[in-house]
Symmetry: C2
């Protein structure tokens, strides 16, 4: 084989928002898979807020991407060579393929996607990592009960939009916090009971108005002032799910801790972190449930697909500027 | 009856540390109990960090003390008149008697103390509200397992000293954080495995050294930088118990939220608030267990008793200056 593989590698550690200088564009010939490996032609790569953490040189749940390494990314693609039994040429698969056109991966680390290629984006979004984060974060950590008031921040995003819809399916009153009229309109379309535009509203006051009995479950994707506004509106024995803090990831000053954390004491409430990777064993079952909700029209997903791997540096910033509408991903190649 | 009752009332809302001007000293004749009430000669009043919250005009777990009201306080005393069946003249009782020499209280709100009068301080401390806070906060919220590493802040205080000793009884490695050599020496006497003097040590580094496998349970009484240092040292699935934040109660600037709260996410950890009043039904059983530990020499309590109700304004400040050694209380009168 003599296929050229275009890659995006980490050139240096960013300070604040990562600009194009943080990345290096390289190319090399594609190799052949060894025993137990598969060669995947990458069709889509997933752009996630977690990427900002992966390029920071700090102890976390996984080691940071090394300088010079191909940037870590989840994705979906088509197998074009295999030395792993059970995965055949032509299979569609998901996995951690990185920011590149072709990836060689251990067969046991990829998962077959039993769907036509046009459905791959859904398996990166609503049925992928963000969807599973929403499902397990809400149901296992947030533990909403019918009649509860559930509030989600980053509500129009890949995780938040699913959280709110699952909470509705479970019989809760759901309030979403998002930035801008278009996103708030989208939340109404999804069936949220109320939407708060943090760009124009006082979030604390709007939460007080929309949650007269207090917030039973707060699913937080953003941190900062919005987390504080939610903490100040908790109901007794509330559960705060810490999924992310996108407002803080590009800080060049220390992270803003939640000043209102003593609300946990007054309300006997809890704030708990979660990582979707803890739920791999239960993922197929959750995917089946969510696929059925999609088929039944109870759950809608939305993907924001940008064309071309080389747009990555600018496309990534859409996440931090709140410009994406739905799960953000790049289409790397046609099938 | 014509007994004069000396009282301390709230004269105004403090900014920062409450000085003597916040209080008003009054006297009035003692009345007689109505049906269902008892008249108590107060022997001891309990001085607690929570008092600072009770005099702030802010929504909390109980309404603030009103301007002109007798200051709220727990205490112990002797019944000198009764119109409540089941409580007799001469009984020793605990209850919320306020800062005064004599209190009339509904009989159903007081609890009989079956102990000689010289033991009353223990029923205000280790077997009272602070001891129960330690017991339920550690065991019900912190849920330590044998072999766990348990860290407690304010470790030489009324709650912290009990938390550490119960954790030792439960087979944990226990590290205490306190201010000054004398307090750290006291922690050694109590059997703590290590003591960190926050006045002279880098708490983050000392925690890293004493907790090489991370902190499984952090019981926090102080908040601020010490909470942040502990969050940065959590083990996977750690439990942080939020009991108080004495470092922040007299702030004239906003409370310092924990900048390192995203450690909850990385470590799938939880931070949970607790209030001892949620455990009233289980209190007698816990007291019996702790009384046995005291008799067996496994649990030591220490009381810091100051003479004279009129010392209250200055004695209260000992709590916030870290000057008390053991449970702080005022002896109001001899039996």
């Amino acid at each position: 084989m003599s296929i050229v593989n275009h890659q995006i590698r980490l050139a240096g550690r960013p300070v604040g928002l990562p600009d194009r200088n943080v990345w290096k564009f390289t190319e090399e010939n594609v190799g052949a898979p060894n025993d137990g490996e598969v060669l995947v032609k990458v069709l889509y790569v997933s752009l996630d807020p977690a990427m900002r953490g992966w390029i920071t040189d700090r102890k976390s749940y996984i080691p940071p991407v090394g300088i010079g390494d191909v940037m870590r990314a989840l994705g979906a693609g088509k197998v074009i060579a295999t030395k792993f039994p059970g995965i055949a040429v032509g299979d569609y698969v998901g996995g951690r393929f990185g920011l590149q056109e072709y990836a060689i991966a251990p067969g046991k680390t990829v998962n077959k996607i039993d769907a036509p290629p046009e459905k791959l984006p859904v398996y990166i979004g609503g049925l992928g990592m963000p969807g599973m984060t929403a499902y397990f974060g809400l149901l296992e950590v947030g533990r909403p009960e019918p009649g509860n008031t559930v509030v989600v921040s980053g509500a129009a995003g890949a995780v938040g939009s699913i959280v709110g819809q699952i909470a509705k399916i479970k019989g809760c009153t759901v309030v979403g916090i998002a930035g801008g009229a278009a996103k708030c309109e989208y939340l109404s379309e999804l069936g949220f009971d109320a939407a708060i535009d943090y760009k124009t509203e006082n979030v604390f006051e709007s939460l007080s108005r929309h949650c007269p009995k207090g917030i039973d479950v707060f699913f937080d994707n953003v941190g900062g002032d919005i987390l504080d506004a939610a903490l100040a509106n908790l109901a007794m024995r509330a559960r705060v799910v810490i999924c992310g803090a996108i407002s803080q990831y590009n800080n060049t000053t220390p992270i803003k801790g939640p000043s209102n954390y003593l609300s946990l004491l007054v309300n006997r409430a809890s704030m708990t972190g979660m990582m979707v990777t803890d739920y791999l064993a239960q993922t197929p079952e959750a995917q089946a449930i969510m696929l059925q909700w999609i088929k039944d029209g109870k759950l809608k997903t939305r993907e924001h697909i940008v064309d071309g791997l080389n747009t990555f540096p600018e496309t990534l910033l859409m996440l931090f500027n709140g410009e994406n509408e739905g799960k953000l991903m790049i289409k790397v190649a046609a099938d």
